[in-house]
């Protein structure tokens, strides 16, 4: 029997509807895969075996009667940031120890209403603050991709098929070994990306405040889309930076990402920033020709010290879109370099306010103190990790009396300028913008450079953070492998609420680049 975990959501959906497989079989295949892999990869922080089997059984009963929703019987992983009723929800923080919400987030409610099956909760950076999944209270997630050591050097354009590597230029197979250095899957949605790449779920929910869907997707050869701000309800999602946070899916191909986003997105009265617009059928956008589409190439995304391979990948992406009939336009987004510094004022400021609620009174950890303030201070000192404390401190400082105008107000003004840059380009007729997704491939766990300088870690989000600052949709799509066999991604940025163009264009890149899967070692 074929390995059911290898099916895409679209294929599984067809086989379930055609009664070739049952959701119980599919769900068991995933649970077995998780049980075998999780000690090594650490992608899940809670596996809901019983709930998954119950939900699968219910889906099978529905489908037997010819009923069922868009995701009926499809097993998914849920980032630990989403509230799931009666199930582990801790944003992978120590301070939320034992928290089991009495309510369900809108996103997960939508998924269950469409018939999806919950496999468990996925590891992430604590409160979604990180780019490597190393700030999790539950320890780092290990990327299912490993670097290769090759006898000979390889051209970067190789495709990984089921059977092994096929050099694009044709010819000899390379002798290769996998380096056993453990790599990060990116963050903060590292568990989501690793679980999708390692076939430990059919798809996963994720969230993105500065790049937390797109950067891990790029590091794991998966697809990740951050929708337009307001497209997906934030209700029941643990808040990090409310004006930037947006949930979206990570999936194994573009079609699956479109299927998942259709179910996740909704108009929600419980989120005042949820937009009153019907959710389009994103899947219908896939396969539409991009002939005549105007693709912008922003010169400011060519940054100092960017590896040659990233530039080459970008050029390849440009060539693919041109071949498909798109018109390539050079554009300028002059305030790009200020997006990351502005983000590191706005996001910590909002986080310091949002995280004020963790005080040892209403939920989670409490460390006793001599009075109530002592209790707050001890609880928060013990409950928050280093990175979270760092950001709460920065946020508190930039909002404190005397500094508000110099930092926060200035950053919000710069943010207006960043958004105007994009508006000017779209007004001039550009339909979509193509950039690299990340400035490098996945790096090692406990990388010394990153550990010694927080700003180095922050630079991971240099290409993605502009999109959050402007509230736009962005998708990361795998486009190739680097010289050491690690996946690299491209990013497409769209107009507000034009996710359809992103799926349409990402599909063209996917068709040209092929799909990328890690060789199983775990």
């Amino acid at each position: 029997m074929t390995d059911l975990t290898r099916l895409t959501i679209a294929d599984a959906r067809d086989k379930l509807r055609g009664k070739e497989i049952t959701s119980a079989e599919l769900t068991d295949a995933y649970l077995d895969a998780i049980d075998a892999a999780n000690a090594t990869l650490n992608a899940y922080v809670a596996v809901t075996h019983d709930k998954a089997r119950d939900m699968a059984k219910a889906s099978d009963a529905k489908m037997a009667k010819g009923e069922g929703g868009a995701l009926e019987g499809i097993p998914l992983g849920i980032k630990d940031l989403f509230s799931t009723e009666g199930v582990h929800t801790q944003a992978c923080s120590h301070i939320l120890d034992g928290f089991k919400p009495r309510y369900e987030s809108t996103v997960t409610s939508n998924l269950w209403a469409d018939g999806a099956v919950m496999l468990g909760k996925l590891n992430m950076d604590e409160f979604a603050m990180g780019s490597s999944n190393e700030t999790s209270h539950y320890g780092p997630v290990v990327n299912p991709w490993r670097r290769q050591r090759l006898e000979q050097s390889v051209t970067p354009t190789i495709h990984l098929d089921e059977g092994g590597f096929v050099p694009a230029g044709g010819g000899v197979r390379e002798a290769r070994t996998l380096d056993n250095a453990r790599l990060v899957p990116g963050g903060s949605s590292g568990g989501s990306a690793a679980a999708v790449a390692a076939f430990l779920c059919a798809g996963a929910t994720a969230t993105d405040t500065g790049g937390s869907i797109r950067q891990p997707a790029a590091f794991t050869g998966t697809i990740g889309i951050k929708p337009t701000y307001g497209r997906v309800s934030r209700w029941g999602v643990v808040a990090f930076a409310s004006s930037l946070d947006q949930a979206g899916p990570i999936a194994r191909d573009v079609r699956d990402a479109a299927i998942l986003l259709k179910s996740m997105a909704s108009v929600d009265a419980k989120d005042t920033t949820s937009v009153d617009m019907p959710v389009p059928d994103y899947e219908a956008a896939i396969g539409r020709p991009i002939k005549g589409m105007r693709v912008g190439i922003p010169k400011e995304y060519r940054v100092d010290g960017m590896p040659e391979e990233i530039e080459a990948l970008w050029q390849k992406g440009i060539a693919w879109l041109k071949d498909a009939g798109a018109t390539i336009v050079d554009i300028s987004l002059p305030h790009t370099k200020y997006a990351l510094p502005a983000y590191y004022i706005v996001a910590p400021a909002e986080a310091s306010s949002n995280l004020a609620r963790y005080d040892g009174v209403r939920y989670g950890l409490r460390v006793p103190g001599k009075d109530i303030v002592d209790m707050y201070e001890k609880t928060r000192a013990a409950g928050f990790g280093r990175e979270v404390k760092r950001r709460v401190m920065i946020g508190t400082y930039v909002l404190s009396a005397g500094y508000y105008d110099a930092y926060y107000l200035q950053a919000q003004k710069v943010r207006t300028l960043i958004k105007r840059d994009f508006e000017a380009v779209f007004d001039a007729g550009v339909d979509v913008i193509l950039t690299p997704a990340t400035p490098s491939a996945a790096f090692g766990i406990a990388d010394e450079d990153m550990a010694s300088d927080p700003v180095k870690m922050y630079l991971n989000d240099i290409f993605t953070v502009t999109v959050n600052m402007a509230g736009l949709p962005g998708i990361a799509v795998p486009a190739g492998l680097d010289a050491r066999g690690l996946p690299l991604g491209l990013q497409l940025i769209g107009k507000p609420f034009d996710e359809e163009t992103l799926f349409q264009t990402a599909h063209v890149i996917e068709q040209a680049a092929g799909r990328f899967q890690p060789e199983k070692w775990w």
Binding site: Y338, Y363, E377, T396
Partner: protein, 95 residues
């Protein structure tokens, strides 16, 4: 602008995070690295630019001012570390 350990301790107090002298020392370096990084924003001319308040222009959603939810005291205190009769328990705050 940069911060010294006294400022870091004051900010930690505002943020309600207990810090040791050693923590404050370390955080001073980290915070200064970040503040140094964000300093470049001062190069940007923001004359006449409105600070962003919302990424998508939208009117605040309103609903009728009516009770739509409630009667969930048990749910609300369910996750609290210490409760009594549907109250959160905290150390004494009034003498």
């Amino acid at each position: 602008m940069s911060v010294d350990t006294t400022t870091v301790k004051r900010v930690a107090r505002l943020a309600r995070i207990a810090v040791t002298d050693e923590d404050a020392e370390r955080m001073t370096g980290e915070l200064n690295a970040i503040l140094g990084f964000v300093e470049q924003l001062n190069e940007v001319d923001v004359t006449g630019v409105e600070p962003m308040t919302s990424v998508t222009p939208m009117a605040m959603k309103k609903r009728r001012d009516a009770v739509t939810d409630g009667g969930k005291a048990a749910d609300i205190v369910a996750n609290a570390p210490a409760t009594a009769e549907h109250f959160f328990l905290v150390p004494k705050v009034v003498e």
